[in-house]
Assembly symmetry: C2
Homo-oligomer: 372 residues x 2
């Protein structure tokens, strides 16, 4: 079993990675000396596939498990769902020493983590991410939260888990489109932090997605988690460095918001956003045209949903300015200084952003593959 430590002083925790490790959850929870009562939160997609196995493994180790199954999808990240979960936990006599385990993708990790952060002023929390996106990105770093009807992720906390358990085998049941979309965040890690990793991904994109041995998905997950741990260790609450993890997310998030978070998978929108910012990195003379072309060629390989919606650049820009990453009307974005290195450009001229969005709109017909 691979083990990566996220070193945050008193809040440090390990990430365990191993094919088939789902069945070892009982032993691992025991080794972390968690108390008897466990709330297992999952969704209607993941629950039927894996919650029985997790529940059985926990019970075999003497834990008392209650399973809560939420509807799959973004709608479960609501105050209403939170209210229900609080109610269930109170009804089932969970206390300050109980543990919440999130078994699922980003939504389940976010909502389960938010409940753990706020129920009785914070109880123990474990992440078992089951999507490529959650395994390589969202389950690490302690960002938890729910949506407000006026905006996404506006209610939340930084709340670190006791540990993260990653079983790459569960990706076999993940729909192909989810795996492809998740790869966008994986490529992001190469772009912002590791040129060798980017090179590997450029050569093996499809192998990873198809879970072929040559794709070494376990190694890919390990690399992403290591990079994220390194960044989060230096800047847990996103005061500075951690912002580089938002590469591609400014325009990407606006595209998601403009389509009510129902049209794009997160990674698909991020792939578009990264194209934008890579172009801007080239236009700003941070990277060469050759590097731009190499990166853009890879990003074009991320299929987009179809029919592609058409938004005026101005409309996208306006949505960008309503994002919570904008402070006091100032736009900070992440650019590449080379392949494997990112920088935060503070107070970007809105005209530059607009130019990048216009380029993105013009060049969207370069993308050859679409989901229908």
């Amino acid at each position: 079993m691979k083990r990566i430590t996220v070193d945050l002083g008193a809040r440090s925790y390990p990430i365990y990675i191993a094919a088939g490790c789902l069945n070892q959850i009982g032993d691992i929870v025991s080794s972390h000396q968690l108390e008897r009562k466990i709330a297992l939160i999952t969704d209607e997609n993941v629950g039927p596939l894996y919650s029985d196995a997790v529940e059985a493994a926990l019970k075999a180790s003497g834990f008392q498990v209650s399973v809560y199954v939420l509807p799959a999808g973004e709608a479960s990240k609501s105050l209403e769902t939170a209210d229900k979960l609080y109610e269930y936990l109170i009804r089932d006599r969970f206390d300050r020493k109980s543990t919440i385990i999130s078994l699922g993708g980003g939504v389940i990790g976010d909502v389960g983590g938010f409940i753990a952060a706020t129920f009785m002023r914070g109880i123990r929390f474990v992440q078992i991410p089951t999507t490529l996106l959650a395994q390589t990105d969202s389950s690490v770093g302690g960002k938890v939260g729910i949506n407000h009807r006026f905006g996404k992720n506006l209610i939340g906390a930084f709340y670190q888990p006791c540990f993260v358990l990653i079983d790459p085998q569960v990706l076999e049941t993940l729909p192909l489109r989810e795996r492809r979309a998740g790869m966008a965040e994986v490529v992001k890690y190469g772009l912002i932090a590791d040129e060798t990793f980017f090179d590997f991904l450029a050569g093996h994109l499809e192998d990873v997605i198809q879970l072929a041995p040559s794709g070494d998905v376990e190694g890919v997950i390990e690399t992403c988690c290591s990079i994220k741990a390194r960044v989060v260790q230096q800047d847990e609450r996103e005061g500075g460095l951690r912002q580089i993890l938002n590469f591609g997310h400014t325009a990407g998030h606006a595209l998601e918001a403009l389509t009510n978070f129902e049209f794009y998978r997160h990674g698909e929108a991020v792939a578009m956003g990264m194209r934008c910012m890579t172009w801007l990195s080239w236009q700003s003379d941070f990277i060469s045209e050759a590097d731009f072309s190499r990166i853009d060629a890879l990003l074009q390989r991320f299929p987009q949903p179809s029919p592609q919606p058409v938004f005026e650049s101005n409309e996208i820009l306006e949505k960008i300015y309503s994002d919570k990453k904008v402070f006091d009307g100032k736009l900070n974005v992440v650019l590449l200084s080379k392949i494997g290195e990112a920088l935060v450009k503070k107070n970007l001229d809105p005209k530059a952003m607009l130019a990048a969005l216009e380029w993105m709109n013009r060049s969207s017909d370069e993308i050859k593959q679409y989901y229908r």
Copy 2:
């Protein structure tokens, strides 16, 4: 201006105490280098008296202030109120670098702090407590939260403010009953941590309540904050020592819960709860009969609301067992080992608790003063 530091490493903060310091809020916020946008949360009692002055002082120092006035009382500590506050903050374009200032008693401190802890994963927070209870107890230590319809304070966090500003002058407009009730927590600090302070309170109880110079309310507040800071520094998240701050709260909280948190002021119920635990401390041979009598004589001077409700000891005990301070069915209580020193008695025999509740019920006619 007096200054007490709550030393919590990266989360350390000062408590400022001075008569009339409310008008200096602009300078103090400036000295803490907070950003321009401030949300001032208050209630319908405190707002009309003090929010204009606070708003003016902040604006004079260049801050941009939005004032949100909640209904007074416990009902504002709800998910519905939180939802509304999130909505206002989003609508008024508050961002991650904005600050929330709570101006009011425990309810406003708790709900404002909870919003600060969870809006955009945590924004800056300032406490300006205006009741004796909040100034001596609830504004220090970072406990924030709201109620769930199934229980009090079940949703919350440990979230420390940037600073606490205490102006004892505002107590002049606080109803006498509130001042009396607040004194119960003050006496608690003497009992659990400082015999000299207890002696002073035994001799000057009414002077403090009447804000007479001989009562030195500023010194009283300073002593309470210093004791609380010392305890919280050693155990921020109530893993051990901090539990001593709950002296009298086990039975007290049950009495409040049985009367829907509408009949007793918190301090009145805590005074009853402290009588209970003082009796049990004597019965357990931790303190002498003489000390018990001395303490009980002081606690009898806390008037109770009338008509006193009658609950069977069994009924109170059952309510105690549904409290969030009970883990895994085990009751931990705080007893006095002497005047000025407390201990945590783990896994108390329910029979002992029952005996204490029965004594409390029998002896309640010793209390001479009632509110009608």
